[in-house]
């Protein structure tokens, strides 16, 4: 695969982020959560709600509310573009890239991308039943939970790359350190490798700390033209490149992998050349990484898939401290989905924005001009490269 021949088009930027608190029981409707996060992101960017003329969002089995509902709740003016997609964690980078292209075309000028759900107190994706298709063959034999599907890949990945529990554990430990500095994070108690290894297995190879923390909450980011972004209060996080990819025969649903040949390589391997090629940026230029981490193994697979680590070396990389704040590649600097909470990767994008803007506070990476973000764990997913305005 090669990148497109045209020069990088850097004409859109992320300019603001918004969050609700992440909790185990919000006591609020998803519409209220979504509206709160959207309004907060718009305000953070220094824009007015009346400036918003585009929205996009994603949901799994109708666990969220559509864009027009949020637009109505907030009393927005007219929307010139809208996109509600039935996707999970594959979506955030994809939707931001779509929004970037939308504002680049002039179809809208200010697009808000959000994810909102009562993912803890309401419908929990991790144990949701999906009707029909592949599920009818999986539920009767007790193979029906998301962590089992990703675990099936992890087991093969660890086997082929010669890695093991200490490598998974290093990811959990590294990210928990960041979470201690993140007031939004659900899991902030310290975690050391010994304690990790002492945790009982839930589904081999995963322990509790390998798994994301399901939460109630919402997160939103604002995309606009680079030209307009330069007039706003925070420095722009320029959208240098974006990419979605489903590898061949991605299956009937999230749990159907029987026709996927290689469980040790996910979508990151398939999109990396196009992602970096389009940005005109090399792996060695990346200064911050926010890798989708519903489970620890997807961080290792993502680091290797994107070419940020050589095959089989991601565990040693994380164990060396390279992903820490003073390491070579600060990674999942908000604690990630593992510790901050499972906003299905929308918060992964938001953390990258904060880092590139230099707003990471006590967890700010010292070098933060180029960040890579991913969305998704298995057959399909998306990614972004964000840069400082340079």
């Amino acid at each position: 695969m090669t990148g497109p021949a045209s020069p990088p088009r850097q004409v859109a930027a992320l300019v603001g982020v918004g969050f609700t608190p992440f909790t185990r029981a919000s006591g609020q409707s998803v519409l209220a959560l979504a509206s709160q996060a959207v309004a907060s992101a718009v305000g953070d960017a220094g824009l007015r709600l009346a400036d918003v003329d585009g929205m996009s969002s994603f949901m799994v089995s109708n666990d969220s509310v559509p864009c027009v509902a949020v637009s109505s709740a907030l009393g927005l003016g007219q929307l010139r573009t809208v996109l509600d997609v039935q996707l999970g964690g594959q979506a955030p980078c994809h939707l931001v890239w779509q929004a970037a292209q939308t504002v680049a075309r002039g179809d809208a000028e200010v697009v808000v991308v959000y994810r909102a759900l009562n993912g803890r107190s309401g419908a929990r994706v991790g144990s949701m039943q999906f009707a029909g298709m592949g599920g009818q063959y999986r539920y009767p034999i007790g193979y029906g939970a998301y962590l089992m599907y990703v675990g099936m890949w992890a087991q093969r990945f660890l086997h082929e790359t010669g890695q093991g529990p200490a490598d998974l554990g290093a990811v959990a430990v590294s990210q928990r350190r960041y979470a201690q500095d993140n007031v939004r994070a659900l899991r902030r108690e310290p975690l050391e490798l010994e304690a990790y290894l002492a945790e009982p297995l839930v589904v081999d190879p995963y322990r509790r700390s390998d798994c994301t923390a399901e939460v109630d909450g919402a997160c939103a980011v604002v995309v606009t033209t680079l030209e307009r972004a330069r007039d706003l209060i925070h420095p722009p996080a320029v959208v240098a490149s974006g990419c979605y990819r489903a590898g061949p025969r991605p299956g009937l649903d999230i749990g159907d992998h029987l026709l996927w040949e290689d469980y040790t390589r996910n979508y990151t391997s398939w999109l990396r050349d196009e992602l970096f090629g389009r940005a005109g940026i090399g792996q060695g230029d990346v200064e911050v990484a926010e890798i989708y981490d519903c489970f620890t193994s997807t961080v290792l697979m993502g680091l290797e898939g994107l070419g940020l680590c050589a095959r089989g070396e991601s565990g040693a990389f994380v164990r060396s401290g390279a992903c820490g704040l003073d390491g070579r590649l600060p990674t999942n600097t908000g604690g990630g989905l593992l510790a901050e909470g499972y906003l299905h990767g929308m918060n992964t994008v938001a953390e990258a924005v904060l880092q590139v803007q230099g707003r990471g506070g006590t967890r700010q990476a010292p070098r933060h001009e180029v960040a890579v973000v991913t969305s998704g764990a298995l057959m399909d997913g998306s990614a972004l490269i964000l840069t400082a305005d340079r």
Binding site: Q129, Y139, I141, Y143, M148, H159, V202, V203, D204
Partner: protein, 89 residues
């Protein structure tokens, strides 16, 4: 269409120590494997009995009749294959 003898090796597997799969009420722990049949295609099934399992283990397909459906599951075979690594990175 591929006719299979039912023999295969474990491509990957998970062992559930906690009942995380919705609706599952069977014994714990239990193992589910992705099995690569000798003829090529892969199948998914429980491995029964669920003892220690490793990638590359040889298994053979069996059928069990339940009240309303018939289950295809796998049973470990005694002798491991000479090269049970299966690594082709």
């Amino acid at each position: 269409m591929v006719e299979s003898t039912g023999h295969g090796i474990v491509y990957s597997f998970v062992t559930a120590h906690v009942a995380v799969s919705p609706g599952y009420g069977g014994p714990l722990p239990y193992a589910v494997a992705t099995v690569e049949l000798a003829e090529g295609p892969r199948l998914l099934g429980r491995v029964e009995p669920p003892g220690p399992l490793a990638i590359g283990d040889r298994v053979v397909a069996r059928f069990a009749d339940h009240a309303t459906w018939t289950e295809l599951y796998f049973e470990p075979e005694a002798a491991p294959l000479p090269q049970s690594e299966g690594a082709h990175s």
